[in-house]
C-alpha cells in the first residue's frame, strides 16, 4: 500500500522555537518528503525606517535587527557608512570592535548550544550552557553597559572607551568560560545518547552547501573553508586564527564547528587584549554619506551583506541587509527532505535560525 501523504504544520508557536517560523511538512508516514517554509511573522519593515531616521540614528535601528547578533548588525551598517564617507576608524576602535564582535559570537554560539541541548531534550545541559553564557554577558555589560543591545558603536568609532583594566579582567573570565565549555563539549561530542540524535542527521553535501548559498558554520560543517573574517576588516588581519571546518556535513559536524569557534573566539579576544593599541576611539565625521557600498561580514550565523545607497542627504535612500539565516533557508529545506518527523526540531535548530534577522 502506498504511503499516505499528509501535511503537518510546524510552528509558528512551538516548544523548541524561541522565535516564530512556520514550515509545512509534507510527510509520507514518518518521513518528510517536502518542506515549505513561510516566514513573515516577525516582519517589521525596519528597512523602511530610513525615511524617518537619519543615517546616524539608523545605527540604533540596525542594532535592533536582531538581539542576538546585535553588535554585528550595528557594525555592518557602520562599516558600510564609514566606507562611503571615507572614514578610517582609529586602531583602538578597530580592536575594541573586534573584541566585542567576538564576545557576541561566543555568547551566540553558547546560546545555540543551549537551544540545541533543549531540542534533544537535555534540560540540565541547557541550564549549564546558559549559566556559562551569563559570564560572557557580564563581560559585555562591564564593557558596554548593556546585556543584549549595546549601542556602543557609532559612525566614526565608539561612543565610549573601555578601560584597559576592565579588558585585562576578561582574560581570567574567558579562561573559566572555556573550561566550562570543555566540560560541556564532552557531552555534546561524545555522549552516546546525544550522538544518536546528531550523528548522520541532516546530511548536506559540500556541493549542495555551496550551490544553495549556505553561510557560516552550516557551510563550514560541510567542508567549505570560507569565513568572511578572512576578507580582512576590523582588526582581523592583525590576529591569528584558522578557519574551522568539518567534512561530515551532519548535525554533529555543525555542533563541532560551533564549539571550536567558541575556543577560537576566546583566543582572538586574548590576542586583541594583548595587542590593544592606546588612545583614540573616535574620528569626527563631516557631512552626509553619498554613494553606495556593500559590506560582507561574518556574523555568528554566517556572512551578512549590508547594502547602503545614499545621495548626500541626511536620510539615506536605501538600507538592505541580507542576513545569514535568509541564505540558509533553502539548504534547510533540502536537509529536511527525507528526514524523520522526530528530527525536524533538531534540524531546524542546527542552522541556528535567527528569524528576526531574516525578516527584519
Amino acid at each position: 500500500m502506498a504511503a499516505k501523504r499528509s501535511v503537518i504544520p510546524f510552528g509558528p508557536q512551538h516548544p523548541v522555537l524561541p522565535e516564530p517560523i512556520h514550515i509545512d511538512l509534507i510527510t509520507e508516514d514518518e518521513k518528510v518528503v517536502e518542506a515549505v517554509p513561510s516566514i513573515g511573522f516577525v516582519h517589521r519593515g525596519l528597512e523602511q525606517l530610513v525615511t524617518k531616521k537619519d543615517f546616524g540614528e539608523m545605527v540604533y535601528v540596525a542594532e535592533r535587527i536582531c538581539g542576538i547578533c546585535s553588535f554585528g548588525h550595528g557594525y555592518g551598517y557602520v562599516k558600510t557608512i564609514e566606507h562611503i564617507m571615507g572614514i578610517e576608524p582609529t586602531d583602538r576602535a578597530r580592536y575594541i570592535r573586534t573584541l566585542l564582535f567576538e564576545l557576541s559570537r561566543m555568547h551566540s554560539h553558547i546560546l545555540w548550544l543551549g537551544l540545541m541541548a533543549d531540542a534533544f531534550g537535555f534540560e540540565s545541559l541547557f541550564m549549564e550552557t546558559w549559566r556559562l553564557r551569563e559570564k560572557i554577558l557580564d563581560m559585555l555589560e562591564s564593557a558596554t553597559g548593556g546585556r543584549v543591545i549595546f549601542s556602543i558603536i557609532r559612525i566614526g568609532g565608539l561612543r565610549k572607551d573601555v578601560p584597559d583594566d576592565i579588558l585585562k579582567g576578561f582574560i581570567p573570565e574567558l579562561e573559566k568560560v572555556v573550561e566550562g565549555i570543555k566540560s560541556c563539549e564532552k557531552v555534546f561530542l561524545s555522549d552516546p545518547a546525544v550522538l544518536s540524535r546528531l550523528k548522520g542527521v541532516g546530511y548536506l553535501s559540500k556541493e549542495d552547501a555551496i550551490n544553495l548559498g549556505c553561510e557560516g558554520p552550516f557551510l563550514r560543517a560541510s567542508g567549505v573553508d570560507w569565513d568572511n573574517r578572512m576578507r580582512g576588516y576590523a582588526a582581523y588581519p592583525s590576529v591569528d586564527f584558522d578557519i574551522i571546518t568539518s567534512n561530515d556535513g551532519d548535525s554533529y559536524a555543525r555542533c563541532y564547528v560551533r564549539i571550536q569557534e567558541i575556543y577560537q573566539s576566546a583566543a582572538i579576544i586574548r590576542q586583541c587584549i594583548e595587542k590593544m593599541p592606546q588612545e583614540g576611539i573616535y574620528v569626527p565625521i563631516k557631512g552626509f554619506p553619498n554613494g553606495e557600498h556593500m559590506t560582507v561580514i561574518e556574523q555568528p550565523r554566517g556572512g551578512a551583506c549590508y547594502y547602503v545607497q545614499a545621495s548626500g542627504k541626511k536620510f539615506i535612500e536605501r538600507m538592505r541587509v541580507r542576513t545569514p539565516t535568509f541564505a540558509n533557508i533553502p539548504a534547510l529545506v533540502k536537509t529536511l527532505q527525507g528526514c524523520d518527523v522526530s528530527d525536524v526540531p533538531i534540524l531546524v535548530v542546527t542552522i541556528d535560525p535567527c528569524i528576526s534577522c531574516t525578516e527584519r
Binding site: I210, N211, M294, G303, R322, P330
Partner: protein
Amino acid sequence: MLENLEVIGLIGLLNKVKEIKNEDYRIMQICSTKIDEEYELLYTFGREYEIKHLKTTIRYGEHVPSISDIFPSAFLYENEMHDLFGIAIDGINHDYKGNLYRTAVEAPFAGSEA
C-alpha cells in the same frame, strides 16, 4: 562605488546570469531600490571572497524574468522583492504569490504608481 559592478539591460539579464553561473559563482542576494520613477535591481554573486554585482533598471509595472531556474535558491529573494516592492517576477520555482510576507500595507516599498 560598488566594485565589480556591471550595469546591463533587462533583456540581457538571463544570459548574463547564466554566464556567471558557469563561472561557479553563487547567488548572494538580490535587492531592489526605488529611484524616482524606476526600480534599480541589484544582483550580487559570490565565489569564495570575490563578489560580482549586476545592476539593471526597470520601469514601474515592468515584468522581470526569474533567475530561479539558474539559481534555485534565488526564490526567497524574488518572492521578497515581489512582496515588498510589488515587482512582478515571472516563473519563480516556488512562487508564494504574495504570501511570503503578509504585510499590513501591500507592497510597502513600492512607488506611487505600482
